[in-house]
């Protein structure tokens, strides 16, 4: 397993494919798995006990991008669409899922620095990992 930088990674909206910002970073997924406590008054050993919940929360992706008003705004009015994150490894491994924008932090407009904005995408179901 070789370490790599993020250069070459992409995030594509299948439906609103015309919106293609210049991403600075793509973070995710942030998968969450709940555990249910099964400890009771008769539990021995001094430790709590748990069982894993049945379902996995696909979590969120977060992307930071250079803001250009001429490029339009993120598709936050779209209920859901297929979104694909492609990694920069030799096989271009992908993470495909149905998602919806859950947050958009617009740019801080100031002198002396490029404008940046942040997007948060909620994963609405399973993520298909393809190596």
């Amino acid at each position: 397993m070789a370490a790599k930088t993020g250069l070459g990674c992409t995030l594509i909206f299948t439906t609103t494919s015309a919106w293609t910002p210049q991403y600075l970073s793509i973070s995710g997924p942030q998968i969450g798995i709940d555990f249910l406590e099964t400890s009771h008054l008769g539990t021995t050993g001094g430790f709590k006990t748990f069982v894993r919940n049945d379902l996995v929360d696909g979590g969120e992706y977060t992307a930071e991008f250079f803001w250009d008003a001429a490029g339009g705004y993120p598709p936050f009015t779209v209920i859901s669409e297929t979104i694909t994150v492609t990694n920069n490894d030799t096989g271009a491994a992908t993470e495909a899922f149905t998602g919806s924008i859950s947050g958009f932090d617009g740019p801080t407009r100031t002198v002396g620095s490029l404008q940046m904005a942040t997007l948060t995408i909620k994963v609405l179901g399973a993520i298909t990992f393809t190596a």
Partner: protein, 143 residues
């Protein structure tokens, strides 16, 4: 080279021309130049990149030094330059023009004094001010 583009921006200004008669130089001052003059130098620059590579934007610190025989003249010349380029947004450069997004002074200015070597040395005073310039660049095609 951004300092050449800003040089050209200054040279086409009537106000600047009336003051220094085209004596605006990038990199170095040619031997034998007489009278007031302006020297621009690219101190540092940065090409911005995202996950897809360079984004066609760069930033540079351009140092502008104004020379004159008296300190107040060097300062007033620096003010003429500031009036021309501070806040400028648009095309600059006679050959291969670039699009400037932002050109603003950073920090305060500073004056310097050079000691005359002999009677032929005219440059006794200078005033320097740095400008941070954001501008568009070409995106590499890897060819």
């Amino acid at each position: 080279m951004i300092e050449q583009s800003i040089r050209d921006l200054l040279r086409v200004s009537v106000t600047v021309r009336n003051r220094v008669d085209g004596h605006v130089f990038a990199g170095n001052i040619p031997h034998g130049v007489q009278g007031e003059c302006v020297l621009l130098q690219d101190i540092t620059s940065e090409n911005f990149a995202g996950l897809a590579g360079e984004i066609g934007k760069a930033a540079a610190i351009v140092q502008v030094t104004c020379y004159a025989e008296r300190s107040h003249e060097a300062f007033s010349l620096a003010e003429v330059v500031r009036n021309r380029i501070s806040g400028y947004r648009g095309s600059a450069g006679a050959i291969d023009p670039v699009i400037i997004d932002s050109c603003l002074p950073i920090g305060g200015g500073g004056s310097g004094q050079e000691t005359a070597v002999d009677s032929s040395d005219r440059w006794l005073h200078s005033y320097t001010r740095d400008y941070e310039v954001f501008f568009e660049t070409s995106v590499p095609t890897l060819t």
